[in-house]
C-alpha cells in the first residue's frame, strides 16, 4: 500500500520539491541580504529600543522591501496547486482510466485504500506547505517585527495557515474528483470551490475570528510616545462624536469640506482638523487585534479549514464506498 502511494505520487512530490527549491533560492538570497540590512540599518535596534528618530529608519527599511513582500501575498494561492494538481486527480484519474476496477479488486478494501491514500498524500502535501510557510515566514521576520504578524500578508504565509488551507484545497479536489470522475472538470471545480471559500473567509471572516479591541484617542493627543513597532492589526477606524456615536463616511466628508473647503488641499497642516475635532468633541476610534491574538486567530483558522476539509473528505469516502458504479 505504501509502495503504491509512493509510486503513484512520486512525480507530484518531486514537482513540489522542485517548486520549493525554485522559490527557496531567490527567497534565501534576498532574505539573507534583508536580514543583514535589518541589523546594519539600525532597524533592529529601533525595534529593540524604540526612539523618536526611528520613524524614518523603519520606514526606509520597510519601503525597500515592500515590493517583494507584496509579491509573497500570492503565497496565499499556493494551496490552489495542491487542490488542482494533487487532490482533483487523486480519484478522478482512477475513474477516468478505469483503473479503479483494478485497484478495488485487490485484497485491500477500497476504504483502507482510500483512507491510506488520503492520509499519506494529504499529510505529505501539508508537509510541503509547512516548508513553504517556514520559508516565507523566515523571510518576513524583520518586517513582521516592525509591522506585526497579523496583517494578511504575514498571516497567510505562516506555516500553520498555509498548511490548513492546503489541506482544505486538497480535500475539495478529492471530493470533486470523486463526484465528477473526470480530471479536468474536477480540477476546474476544485479551483472554483477554493476561490469561493477562501476569498470571502479571507476578506470578511478573519477580522472577526475574535472580537477586536477598541480604543478612542483625542484628536490633539499631546501624549504621542513617538515611533514604535505597530504590531496591532487595525481592522476598523473612524471618528466618534461626543455622545460616543460613530460618524458616517458622509458626515466625515462634510467635516473635511468644511475645514479645507471645496477642492482644497488635503495635504495641509493637520492642525485645523485637530482643532475642529477638539472643539466639537470628536475623537478618533480604532478597532484592532493586538499581537497576543495571533495564537487564537491561528487556532480558529485551523479549526475552520480543517473542519471543512474533514467534512469534504468524509463525503468523498462515503461516495466511493456507497455510490460506486
Amino acid at each position: 500500500m505504501l509502495w503504491l502511494i509512493w509510486r503513484q505520487h512520486r512525480a507530484e512530490l518531486l514537482t513540489a520539491v522542485v517548486l520549493l527549491f525554485l522559490f527557496a533560492v531567490p527567497i534565501i538570497v534576498s532574505g539573507l541580504a534583508m536580514h543583514a540590512e535589518y541589523e546594519t540599518s539600525g532597524a533592529a535596534a529601533c525595534v529593540a529600543n524604540p526612539q523618536d528618530s526611528c520613524g524614518p529608519i523603519a520606514d526606509r527599511f520597510v519601503s525597500n522591501h515592500i515590493e517583494w513582500a507584496n509579491r509573497l501575498v500570492f503565497a496565499a494561492m499556493l494551496p490552489l496547486l495542491a487542490g488542482v494538481f494533487i487532490g482533483a486527480p487523486l480519484l478522478a484519474r482512477e475513474f477516468e482510466s478505469g483503473t479503479w476496477r483494478l485497484a478495488f479488486t485487490q485484497s485491500v478494501t477500497r476504504t483502507r485504500w482510500l483512507v491510506s491514500k488520503l492520509t499519506i498524500v494529504g499529510a505529505g502535501t501539508a508537509g510541503i506547505a509547512v516548508a513553504f510557510g517556514l520559508l516565507f515566514t523566515w523571510w518576513r521576520g524583520p518586517l513582521n517585527e516592525i509591522d506585526g504578524r497579523l496583517r494578511t500578508a504575514a498571516f497567510v504565509a505562516t506555516p500553520v495557515s498555509l498548511a490548513v488551507v492546503t489541506v482544505f484545497a486538497f480535500a475539495a479536489g478529492v471530493l470533486a474528483g470523486a463526484l465528477l470522475r473526470r480530471t479536468i472538470p474536477a480540477m476546474a471545480v476544485a479551483l472554483a470551490v477554493f476561490l469561493v471559500v477562501r476569498i470571502p473567509l479571507e476578506e470578511s471572516a478573519r477580522p472577526h475570528y475574535v472580537k477586536p479591541l477598541s480604543r478612542v484617542n483625542d484628536a490633539l493627543a499631546h501624549n504621542d510616545p513617538g515611533w514604535r513597532p505597530t504590531t496591532d492589526w487595525v481592522v476598523e477606524n473612524g471618528w466618534v462624536d461626543s455622545a460616543g456615536k460613530m460618524l458616517s463616511a458622509d458626515a466625515q466628508n462634510a467635516v473635511m469640506r468644511e475645514i479645507y473647503g471645496e477642492g482644497g488641499s488635503m495635504y495641509g497642516s493637520d492642525l485645523g482638523l485637530a482643532r475642529y475635532m477638539a472643539e466639537h468633541g470628536i475623537r478618533r476610534y480604532t478597532e484592532y487585534h493586538p499581537d497576543s491574538a495571533f495564537g487564537a486567530m491561528l487556532a480558529i483558522e485551523s479549526a475552520l479549514y480543517l473542519g471543512l476539509a474533514a467534512v469534504l473528505l468524509a463525503v468523498a469516502v462515503w461516495v466511493v464506498r456507497r455510490r460506486l458504479h
Binding site: 500500500m1 505504501l2 509502495w3 503504491l4 509510486r7 503513484q8 482510466s97 478505469g98 483503473t99 476496477r101 483494478l102 485497484a103 478495488f104 479488486t105 485487490q106 485484497s107 485491500v108 478494501t109 477500497r110 476504504t111 483502507r112 464506498r321 456507497r322 460506486l324 458504479h325
Partner: protein, 290 residues
C-alpha cells in the same frame, strides 16, 4: 458446491431504469461459465455485482457459500477480476505492476507470474501504456491469476483484441484453468468460442436472465422440429422460436428427447449457437426460465 449464487439480484442506477432485475442462479464450482447477452443487457453490471465492485439495489450474492460484502478483504482475496479493456496503470512498468500486486495482496504468486510473462515474451521493464493490446490483456490476466483466486471473473476480456492475440489470451486462460481449481465466469460476444470454452451458460436479455444451465444439458434439452406448417399459433410445448416458410415450419422447442414426436415432424438436434441466438432474439413476452 456452488461457486457463486445470486438471489433476486437487481441494480438500479440512480432513479433511472433497472440495469438488472430478478436474477437468480447458481454457478457450479470448477467450471467455465459464459455470460452472454446483447450490449446493454446488464452483463457488466452483473459481473460487478458478483465481485462486490458494485452494491446491489436488491437481492444478494453468495461467494462459495458466504454472503458477499463489499469492503471485506477475505472476500476480495477469493476473486480475480479482469475488467473490460483490461485497465492498467499506464505509467507503471510491468515490474511495477507486479510490485503493485504484491503490495496489495497478502497472497500473490509472483514467481509463476514472472514465469508466465517470460513465456509470453513480455518485457518487465516496459511501461504498460507501451504494450500492445494483447500484451496488456495478458498482463491484466497474469495479475488476476497471481492472486490465486477461487473465482476468476472476466468482462469481455478479448473483445478488443485481434484474432491472434485473442487466441493467445484464451489459450493462457485455458492453461491456467487446467493448472488449478479455478472457477471462471466470463462474458463474451463470441458465441462460437463460448461453445468450445464454456461448459455452463447464463443468458441475459434486457437486464433479466432468460436461460441458465450446463451447455450439454441445454443442447440435449432442446431440438428443432421441422414439418408442415401448423395451424395458426398452434400451442407447442416449450416453444422457444419458430421460423415459417410457406408450407414448412421449423420450431425450436425445449423438450426432452424422450418426448415422442408427431410422425409429421422431423426432429433434429440444435447447436449451442443456434440455441443462444434464438433465446436472445426471443420477444419479451415469452420468458423461458430455468
Amino acid at each position: 458446491m456452488t461457486a457463486l449464487r445470486v438471489e433476486g439480484l437487481g441494480k438500479r442506477y440512480g432513479r433511472g431504469t433497472w440495469a438488472l432485475r430478478e436474477c437468480t442462479f447458481d454457478l457450479p464450482q470448477g467450471r467455465i461459465i459464459g455470460l452472454v447477452g446483447a450490449n446493454g443487457a446488464g452483463k457488466t453490471t452483473l459481473l460487478h455485482l458478483a465481485i462486490g465492485l458494485l452494491s446491489p439495489t436488491e437481492g444478494s450474492v453468495f461467494l462459495f457459500g458466504r454472503p458477499l460484502r463489499m469492503d471485506r478483504p477475505a472476500g476480495l482475496a477469493e476473486v480475480g477480476f479482469v475488467a473490460q479493456d483490461h485497465p492498467l496503470y499506464r505509467g507503471f512498468t510491468v515490474a511495477d505492476l507486479l510490485h503493485f500486486g504484491r503490495s496489495m495482496n497478502r497472497r500473490f504468486d509472483e514467481t509463476t507470474a514472472r514465469k508466465r510473462l517470460a513465456e509470453l515474451g513480455i518485457p518487465l521493464d516496459r511501461r504498460a501504456g507501451r504494450l500492445s493490446g494483447g500484451q496488456q490483456a495478458q498482463v491484466a490476466l497474469t495479475l488476476a491469476l497471481a492472486k490465486q483466486p477461487r473465482l476468476l471473473v472476466l468482462d469481455e476480456p478479448a473483445a478488443s483484441l485481434d484474432p491472434l492475440a485473442r487466441r493467445e489470451f484464451m489459450s493462457t486462460l485455458m492453461g491456467a484453468v487446467a493448472d488449478s481449481e479455478l472457477t471462471v465466469l466470463l462474458s463474451s460476444h463470441a458465441i462460437g468460442e463460448l461453445e468450445r470454452v464454456c461448459d455452463h451458460l447464463v443468458l441475459l436479455r434486457k437486464g433479466r436472465m432468460c436461460l441458465a444451465g450446463d451447455t450439454d444439458e441445454l443442447v440435449a434439452g432442446h431440438r428443432v422440429l421441422s414439418g408442415p406448417r401448423p395451424d395458426a399459433n398452434a400451442a407447442m410445448q416449450g416453444l422457444v422460436a419458430a421460423t415459417h416458410g410457406p408450407r414448412q415450419s421449423h420450431l425450436l422447442v425445449r423438450q426432452p428427447v424422450t418426448v415422442p414426436v408427431h410422425p409429421h415432424w422431423e426432429a433434429n438436434p440444435v447447436s449451442l449457437e443456434e440455441l443462444v441466438l434464438a433465446y436472445l432474439a426471443q420477444p419479451e413476452t415469452k420468458e423461458g426460465r430455468d
